[in-house]
């Protein structure tokens, strides 16, 4: 379905005609989308009961992804140096870590080490 939408709507709307003789700008994206669709069709025929998603894992991974998205927004607003300790702490807490020593290593020690490595040693500014 995604491949059909890509070939019929997304690719034509977002590529220009170009000047190529044999290969137009839309040629390769269209071919790639057709390959995706072809693969999906084959996968449909191959489908077995084993392909079912594990709900528990999916939910937990989604939680971590949401946390990551929220942290990225926070990094954009307040910068890496302030947001990183909270991200480190949240990830560890969500994973079940409760020992304060390890929590402080991951949420304070590591952001500090990264700051030292990038900004002090390598001279590259963090966002």
């Amino acid at each position: 379905m995604l491949a059909i939408i890509a070939v019929t709507v997304v690719i034509p709307a977002n590529t220009e005609e170009g000047f190529g003789v044999f290969v137009l700008p839309k040629t390769m994206p269209t071919a790639a989308a057709i390959v995706i669709g072809l693969g999906a069709l084959i996968a449909l025929f191959e489908a077995s009961g084993e392909d079912a998603l594990h709900v528990g894992t999916t939910m937990r991974v989604s939680l971590f992804v949401l946390l990551l998205v929220a942290s990225s927004l926070a990094i954009g607003q307040i910068g890496f140096k302030l947001a990183a300790p909270f991200l480190g702490l949240s990830v560890m807490m969500l994973a079940g870590e409760r020992r304060w020593l390890w929590l402080s290593v991951g949420s304070l020690g590591m952001p500090l080490a990264i700051w030292l490595l990038f900004e002090v040693l390598l001279g590259r500014p963090l966002p």
Binding site: V23, P25, A31
Partner: protein, 495 residues
């Protein structure tokens, strides 16, 4: 520049303080990370690529090569001590390594793992050094039509061998190609699929995408499974018999044929795209067990089983670079990451690299051999430390990995855009992982997408857009037929 002078200069480049330190750091960090169950050299390499930008290409690439090799030993440590493979390819190491540790022979097992690993790795490097240049000479005789067909064949083999479903592998390959087309069209520079985001004119940045799909997705997935309990402690001095701790030359020498066979298996499998070190380790172990006169000890702590596995899975590392250096086609994720680092540094691997960057190539060869020596030394003396590391909580390690990935991705693209790509790639990687789509074929087609499109354009120009004109290119026809045959064969065997 004469070949001999380039060779000497390349080797001399390795024996500079910066390169030696880079190799040392790469090996040490990768052994350290490899010792942590679940994460391996791929993570170290992907996260390190942005950092290598601060250095000369030979320094940065040497670090990555060191990291590639360090993981081969690091992964064996938790496999032997805790029955938990540090890297997927050390799953077979647990079969005889852990029983040896339980029998009070943990130190002997760890030493054998180091010796056999470095033996296999060195053999593979020697093959790489002797084979890749002649192979590149053959590749130089190929035109764009043959190169295009060769890439189709490589994609077909990787798609066929990776993952459980051929359909999903084909879709993943298509997705890699599709994402590679974002940005300016290589034919006439027309912008496409950039959705108004001008940063995408140069395409989707490779490093954040690789980190997101390969590392972040894996870390998030692992985070859902980690426990906070410490692994069971192994008493390294359980036996009072010194013979249980030492590895004698006689014991090493007795395994020479097994290690040699393992090294050959690993080298051959490593040179083929898409198969990987886990298959090499499994095949080597099975072959060693079948060939042994008395195989009753295999699986119960037989040192021969350990030698077979470790020599084979380590031999994959060197030969993985054969298709990359000679043809410009990476056959594994680690090779794809080396390719990515080379591209970031403005170096295009492929047959011309021996002509245009001979000094760098010989530097790479020298760095690989030096990395083996350092890998051996650190593995032999550092395992006590790594054994402690392997007992560190994974929650801290994974949280640290996430912070490193975010910092690295932001720095390599110069701001928040890298972070946005990283998050998008992470979501994509997580979805692919949950739905069991193979990531390796996606990454390789994404990295080679631009080159593939260029070759496709050149092929159409040469054949005047008429497939019937392919008849003038018999090698290309043979390669395309092989690709079709491979895919059909894999599809039939899966049913």
């Amino acid at each position: 520049m004469p070949l001999f002078a380039e060779l000497l200069q390349g080797l001399a480049d390795v024996f500079t303080l910066a390169v030696l330190l880079a190799i040392l750091a790469g090996v040490a960090i990768s052994q350290f990370v490899g010792a942590l169950p679940g994460i391996g050299p791929v993570m170290v390499m992907a996260v390190a690529i942005p950092y290598t930008l601060a250095f000369d290409p030979i320094v940065g690439i040497s670090f990555l090569l060191g990291a590639m090799k360090g993981g081969t030993i690091g992964g064996a440590i938790p496999a032997i001590l805790f029955n938990t493979p540090g890297t997927p390819d050390t799953a077979m190491t647990t079969l005889d390594g852990y029983p040896m540790a339980q029998n009070g022979k943990a130190k002997k097992a760890l030493r054998m793992a180091v010796f056999s690993s470095v033996t296999g790795d060195t053999f593979s490097d020697i093959v790489l050094i002797t084979v890749s240049a002649p192979l590149a000479l053959i590749a130089l005789r190929m035109g764009p039509v043959e190169i295009f067909s060769l890439m189709v064949l490589a994609f077909a083999v990787i798609a066929g061998l990776s993952g459980k479903s051929i359909g999903k592998a084909i879709s993943a390959a298509g997705l890699g190609l599709l994402l590679a087309t974002v940005g300016l069209d290589p034919e006439d520079g027309t912008p496409r699929l950039y959705f108004g985001v001008f940063e995408l004119f140069d395409g989707i940045p490779k490093v954040p995408l690789a980190i997101g799909v390969l590392v972040m997705a894996e870390v998030l997935h692992r985070l859902t499974q980690v426990g906070t309990a410490d692994p069971p402690a192994v008493d390294l001095n359980a036996s009072n018999d010194p013979a249980d701790h030492q590895l004698t030359f006689a014991e090493y020498w007795a395994c020479r044929y097994i290690m040699f066979r393992g090294a050959i298996i690993g080298t051959l499998i490593g040179a083929l795209p898409g198969i990987g070190s886990t298959a090499a380790a499994t095949l080597s172990y099975t072959t060693a067990r079948e060939a042994a006169k008395d195989h009753s000890g295999f699986g119960k702590g037989d040192i021969r089983g350990l030698a077979a596995v470790e020599s084979a899975n380590s031999a994959v590392a060197g030969s993985n670079l054969i298709p990359l250096l000679s043809l410009g086609i990476p056959g594994s994720v680690t090779a794809a990451l080396v390719l990515s680092a080379m591209l970031v540094h403005g170096i295009q691997p492929g047959p011309l690299i021996f002509e245009q960057q001979g000094r760098l190539v010989y530097g790479i060869f020298g760095a690989m051999l030096v990395a083996n020596v350092i890998n051996f030394a650190i593995g032999l003396f550092g395992w006590r430390l790594w054994a402690r590391v392997a007992a560190a909580p994974q929650t801290v390690i994974f949280a640290s990995a996430i912070l490193l990935c975010i910092a690295g991705s932001s720095v390599v693209t110069g701001g928040i855009f890298g972070l946005v790509v990283l998050i998008g790639a992470t979501v994509l990687g997580v979805v692919m992982k949950l739905l069991d789509f193979p990531v390796i074929i996606f990454i390789i087609t994404f990295f080679l997408g631009r080159q593939f499109e260029r070759s496709y354009g050149q092929m159409l120009t040469l054949t005047e857009g008429n497939p019937a004109n392919l008849i003038e290119f018999p090698v290309a026809i043979a390669l395309l037929t092989l690709a079709f045959a491979f895919l059909s064969l894999f599809a039939i065997r899966r049913r």
